[in-house]
Symmetry: C2
Subunit: 433 residues, 2 copies
């Protein structure tokens, strides 16, 4: 914290980012000091790199006029992100202070959904006409370059402002200056539309090793670009979302959430799981008569359901990950189901055999061992099939499979697991008592 | 598949990447046709973008001399990745055919571990002397640029080849050519050492919005660079690893793994879980006398353990994700444990109250409702505390918390859940029968 004492000496971007990333540890007085002591440009860097909560805290210390000055050093997409978090009144007041050109762009960007290409694109890019020669292009690039994030990919447009291709800055630099841009334009390029989901944009970028993706409208007119830093942010966001949702945690929960915030976010998930648990419990209740006669069933039945849950989670994880990478769809299910059936039988037989032998040795009852062996195969087949089908169906229904697969899976493996095991026990009851 | 018929027309990188990404659907004959029909340069693009299995399939169709020609169009890090997969004999034969300079670099790169900075860096970058002026620098850049992936960040070295900073190509382009490079060098930069873990490199890149990170040795002499495409690959790899490991799946398993491969990779995890299940089962066995008297316990006890597992997984997910992002360490546990204790009590009381009431209504026994309420609080506290502490301890021990947290968590919530609930039942036994 001592490094904000000499705040006027902070010249380096790396140090500013370090400060920005640790703002959640700063008290209000320290944030205020930062806001007053830093130049607009440095403050803009801090603001850009801070997390959402800290961004709002900073904004609260600034007048609308000061905010506008700080914004003048920022990319449009970052400005829009911040404006999107502000109360409507404050947001409108700031936008009304902007120059007309900026206002139009900002209002347009604010119109796009946050998690699609339009919501993460910026409007600072280098576009040149295809009729220019290389020398003219280089002049234009020198002029625009201080205002853009991306330098090595230059976008080429025709006389109707339509995007016709890209040029690699390398090809411009090594040319003697006489060639027409048209001649060195790469006309086969990847682009997104404003409505393209951000996850899809990230997939495109990683698939084609792109550091920038242009966003165009239906008429191929260029609207903006999505830069690699935003793509990396999307990747981290989606990764966090997947891990948290698979664990039944709201994607908004952070390590800094207050206990009350965490409670509000975690309880609904537990409540849904509770319903599942009751379903399983009701299944067991139907067999209380059987259990009363063979109490050993109560100690062994949870092995069958537990292993079903574990095996099903393995399948779900593989499928969720491959859905996220765009490798698998519902239509592939029929191809994959044979493997899961086979795996269910094989893993079920292996796990069931071990369990059956141990149970036989403990309880000295062959039939108890046999029914646990059979029930394990049955439940691991249930686990494999539901673990495969559930995430694929959820994906087809446009529900994030990471979010709710486990609920449906557990319902199947717990309820059916108990049912299979206890039904078998009922069948073999004369041999068990 | 029809697009490989006119293979000589394939000029565009995008199409080549599409082919490279779908090679697993190609038959050997088609791969052979690709290998013979494509130019060395196009084949190098396919090879670079293909998955590991397809890379090996392609290599098998090529002579060592042809491989060398194809390699001449590739980055050193990609060459090393491929060489690393080949049998030692084949690898040595190819390396021996290389020019001495290349051979030295390749052998050095092969010496680094695959998942650290040295293993993912490449040696094609632009480095200029700090004593050059901007015009001289621009000449040098034009000369090297066709051979490098990264253009907008230029590395600056001193007379001892030590890295002293970076220059933004923008600053070179807009200058009139007279300034010394030293004057526009950014001297505060982020770097990695060859041993730096690749996950840490990706964290650095995302934190500081970098598209390239230099790798230096202990004397700050530049060894190579890590480019954004490799950083994105690392991010995807780590993400896949986290999701799969949390689900108890080996990171090597893909959707294309054969049933036998999957069986071999999934069974060990199920076996470890089986031991956990037996532990829980043995706990229940200790209370068989109690259960025999109150058979309702057998239907209700799994609600307590199940909810403990769910609540614990929520905490584990939050902690694992924050460990991965470098936000939390074991030393923070004491600060966070109060929140988890509080959450355990609050969620336990809420979930326990609902469960208690429902159980009371079904079984018409107040004390059964009461013990399930108390046991739920107890087990959700166990879940919160172990869910917090286990991944942090595993991280401290340099064990991936995504891999094994769930095993320890389930052991705690199942075994202690049964124990708490059934002990309470024992205590209140006179009121239950």
């Amino acid at each position: 914290m001592e490094n904000i004492i000499n705040v006027e000496k902070l010249t380096d971007e790396t140090i500013l980012i370090d400060i920005a990333k640790s703002l959640s540890d700063y008290e209000d007085g320290q944030i205020f000091k930062l806001c007053t002591a830093l130049t607009d440009e440095k403050l803009s860097m801090i603001l850009e790199q801070a997390d959402e909560k800290s961004q709002i805290r900073i904004i609260e210390f600034l007048t609308n006029e000061k905010i506008l000055k700080v914004f003048s050093y920022m990319q449009k997409d970052d400005i829009v992100d911040i404006l999107g978090m502000l109360p409507t009144g404050k947001r409108k007041a700031i936008i009304n202070l902007m120059k007309k050109g900026d206002r139009t762009i900002i209002e347009q960007l604010l119109g796009y959904k946050e998690d699609c290409a339009g919501g993460i694109m910026t409007t600072e890019y280098i576009a040149i006409r295809n009729t220019l020669d290389v020398n003219g292009a280089l002049e234009k690039i020198k002029e625009i370059s201080p205002k853009t994030e991306v330098l090595d990919t230059i976008f080429v447009t025709d006389d109707k402002k339509k995007l016709v291709g890209t040029v690699d800055l390398r090809d411009i630099l090594i040319d003697d200056g006489k060639k027409k841009i048209e001649e060195i334009t790469n006309k086969n390029f990847v682009y997104a539309e404003p409505e393209t989901d951000q996850e899809e944009v990230a997939l495109l970028a990683t698939k084609y090793d792109l550091t920038v993706i242009p966003v165009v409208n239906k008429h191929m007119v260029m609207l903006g670009i999505i830069t690699i830093d935003d793509i990396m942010d999307v990747m981290i966001e989606e990764q966090t979302e997947d891990v948290l949702r698979m664990g039944g945690v709201d994607k908004e929960e952070t390590i800094d959430s207050t206990p009350l915030e965490s409670l509000k976010m975690r309880f609904p998930w537990l409540f849904i799981n509770l319903i599942t648990a009751f379903l399983a419990s009701m299944t067991v209740k139907q067999f209380e008569g059987t259990i009363a006669q063979v109490v050993a069933l109560s100690a062994t039945m949870s092995i069958v359901t537990g292993m079903g849950g574990n095996a099903g989670t393995q399948t779900v994880s593989i499928i969720i990950r491959n859905i996220a990478m765009g490798n698998v769809k519902l239509k592939d299910a029929s191809k994959l189901i044979w493997k899961e059936l086979l795996l269910g039988v094989a893993n079920g037989a292996a796990v069931g055999l071990i369990t059956g032998i141990v149970v036989f040795l403990i309880y000295k009852n062959f039939y108890l061992g046999l029914i646990i062996f059979l029930a394990m195969i049955g439940n691991l087949v249930v686990a494999g099939v539901t673990g495969l089908v559930i995430p694929l169906i959820l994906d087809k229904l446009h529900i994030d499979p990471a979010l709710s697969s486990s609920i449906f899976l557990t319902t199947a493996t717990d309820t059916l697991g108990f049912f299979i095991f206890l039904s078998l026990a009922n069948l073999f009851l004369p041999y068990l008592v």
